[in-house]
């Protein structure tokens, strides 16, 4: 019984990290039709930047802001000066983001070497949370809390704010939204920066759990893709549920059949694509 609870919490924590990554990816894809293949690289670069900030003496919380902020700026610049030049050419945009992902990944090896680097945990959150004989790291509970808070905040932003109404209008029918006078180019920049910032901050947040190493980007990116395929395009709820499903599958899979943890990831994809190609909560086919 303990095993199931602990692994369930681990799955929830991993799913939380995935959600932070995949929600931005899904928003960008849903609104702009850009498959941002550098999203995994943003996550890794954010973690490295946060780590360097901490090594320079900054505390963990500021490091999250620095990691997220740096990637926000990077994403904004790339969106404004490269992706925007390719508007209306989705495949060209994908290839550019793929190229950028390679550049970032290799630059990270260059700067931070190929060795895995542990990221220190904030001292406030070390230790374990105990109920009777169950113990679970407080930091992971914190990450789960952050993801739920983020989900609530994003939900509020999308469903209850004026900006969110504009984003939803853009997701549903971009030309019409533009015709109604919504400044979609500004909207694109805001959403791309937001998604990038979430990826960067998520990388720093993931550091104490996953540590940071070359290849973290290509470990996380396909999982984010699977989450979006499962959950449906541009759907916040889909990204949330999809992340938790993948988090649980990954966590239980690694504990029960360590060799096969990756093989099991095929299963939800096969099921969803066969039975419901729009994804669980998507309205349009991907």
């Amino acid at each position: 019984m303990n095993f199931w609870i602990i692994q369930g919490l681990n799955g929830l924590a991993f799913g939380s990290l995935l959600f932070i990554l995949a929600s931005g990816f899904s928003l960008i894809f849903g609104l702009m039709r850009i498959v941002n293949l550098s999203h995994g690289a943003y996550f890794m670069l954010g973690a490295y930047v946060g780590l360097s900030a901490m090594e320079a003496g900054v505390n963990f919380w500021i490091a999250i802001l620095i990691g997220g902020g740096a990637i926000c700026i990077l994403g904004g610049v790339l969106e404004r000066f490269i992706l925007r030049r390719l508007t209306g050419q989705p495949l060209a945009q994908v290839l550019v983001t793929l190229g950028i992902a390679f550049i970032i990944a290799d630059t990270c090896v260059w700067i931070w070497t190929g060795d895995p680097r542990p990221v220190p945990m904030p001292s406030e959150l070390t230790g374990a949370f105990r109920i009777s004989h169950l113990a679970f790291p407080i930091y992971r509970l914190f990450v789960i809390g952050v993801a739920f808070a983020l989900a609530a905040a994003l939900w509020f932003l999308l469903e209850r704010s004026r900006l969110g109404a504009m984003i939803r209008a853009g997701v549903d029918d971009l030309p019409m939204a533009r015709a109604m006078g919504i400044r979609t180019s500004l909207l694109f920049s805001v959403v791309f920066c937001l998604g990038s910032a979430l990826a960067g901050a998520g990388g720093v947040l993931a550091g104490p759990i996953l540590s940071v190493y070359p290849g973290l980007d290509t470990d996380m990116l396909p999982l984010a893709l699977v989450v979006v395929i499962l959950g449906g395009v541009g759907s916040l709820l889909g990204a949330f549920v999809g992340s938790l499903i993948i988090g649980f599958i990954y966590s239980y899979g690694q504990a029960l059949f360590p060799d096969l943890a990756y093989v099991i990831l095929f299963l939800p994809m096969v099921l969803v694509l066969t039975l419901r190609p729009t994804g669980l909560f998507g309205r349009q086919a991907i």
């Binding site: 190229g99 290799d106 290509t218 699977v226 991907i286």
Partner: protein
């Protein structure tokens, strides 16, 4: 076959040069690089079938290379199968995998197709990396000896080169026949006008799926040769970078031309070998090339350079009316 037609004389020269290559270059090193190019060319040709003729951009084509290579080595060197049986099972099983992946990826089109192929390919990479008891994990799988079909000693670089060249010729012949066949023609129809093709009564899904499986088959053949060449396979063969390099070969040579991928394969393999001799940052260069191609030469390096030359020529001889747009027709965009 589209694009500028080759006339007979350059074609013969190219063929003669390819055949005489082991005598022209004396060093085994260069013969081995030629073998690498030929193997990469087979893989790129099969991917071009999807991208250039089917309009399906796959970012997981390394899957077939890697799975066939793993199976070949596992079956022949570790499970006690003979060379022929191992090769046939490896190619057969990989083709079955292509059937499954094709079924899944073709539930979507365009960007969705790309995302699914990438995800499936990377999951396979994860399997190879993590299922260490079967695949050797990061250390990879080795121990394969090259076979001796019909008394040919394939451990000799020159003979091995002819061996893979033979497969390349067959691949080009089969793929050319495929493109000219009714199925290949309708595949190009589904690329340009999927809705119209559907309205005309074509089963678009089936046409795309069959082409996907055919491409997977040739990817598996490339994987078999890859296994014989390296006598070793590691998760790197399945990684996204391998798929991306193959994609670069297709784009560099010009999509939708029959022989473009062969040129692209030569460019990429030579570049990679030359660059790796001087610096270790191949991946950065790969990324920069991707960005540069998309921004400046969206129709591919070879057609892009051809177009540039033609524009120059036209500037010097204003009466020439050659239309550059005819070669710029196969844009990746």
């Amino acid at each position: 076959m589209r694009g500028p037609a080759f006339n007979a004389i350059p074609r013969l020269v190219v063929c003669a040069a390819l055949l005489a290559l082991p005598w022209l270059v004396t060093s085994d090193y260069y013969v081995n690089i030629a073998s690498q190019i030929v193997i990469a060319a087979i893989l790129a040709l099969s991917l071009n079938l999807l991208i250039g003729f089917g309009g399906m951009i796959s970012l997981g084509h390394a899957a077939y290379l890697g799975v066939a290579a793993y199976l070949t080595i596992y079956l022949t060197a570790h499970a006690g199968f003979g060379h022929l049986a191992g090769a046939l099972i490896a190619i057969g099983a990989t083709t079955v995998l292509a059937m499954l992946f094709g079924y899944l990826a073709l539930r979507a089109s365009g960007l969705g197709f790309l995302m699914i192929t990438l995800a499936l390919g990377q999951i396979l990479w994860g399997v190879a990396y993590r299922w260490a008891s079967l695949t050797g994990g990061d250390n990879g799988l080795g121990g394969l000896k090259r076979p001796h079909p019909f008394g040919l000693d394939l451990s000799n670089p020159a003979i091995f080169y002819y061996f893979v060249l033979f497969f390349l010729v067959i691949a080009i012949w089969c793929i050319a026949r495929f493109i000219q066949s009714g199925l290949g023609q309708s595949l190009q129809g589904t690329r340009d006008q999927p809705r119209r093709m559907r309205a005309l009564g074509y089963n678009v899904w089936l046409i795309q799926w069959l082409s996907f499986v055919f491409a997977g088959f040739w990817g598996a053949v490339a994987g078999l040769l890859y296994a014989y060449y390296h006598q070793f396979v590691s998760p790197q063969a399945l990684h996204l970078t391998t798929s991306a390099e193959t994609l670069l070969m297709v784009i560099a040579g010009g999509t939708g031309t029959l022989l473009g991928p062969v040129v692209g394969a030569a460019l990429v393999v030579i570049l990679k070998n030359v660059v790796s001799a001087y610096i270790t940052r191949w991946l950065i260069l790969l990324g920069v090339i991707f960005v540069a191609i998309v921004l400046f030469m969206p129709e591919g390096l070879v057609p892009g350079i051809t177009r540039g030359l033609r524009t120059l020529k036209r500037r010097t001889r204003p009466d020439e009316t050659a239309d550059a747009s005819s070669i710029a027709g196969d844009r990746i965009r």
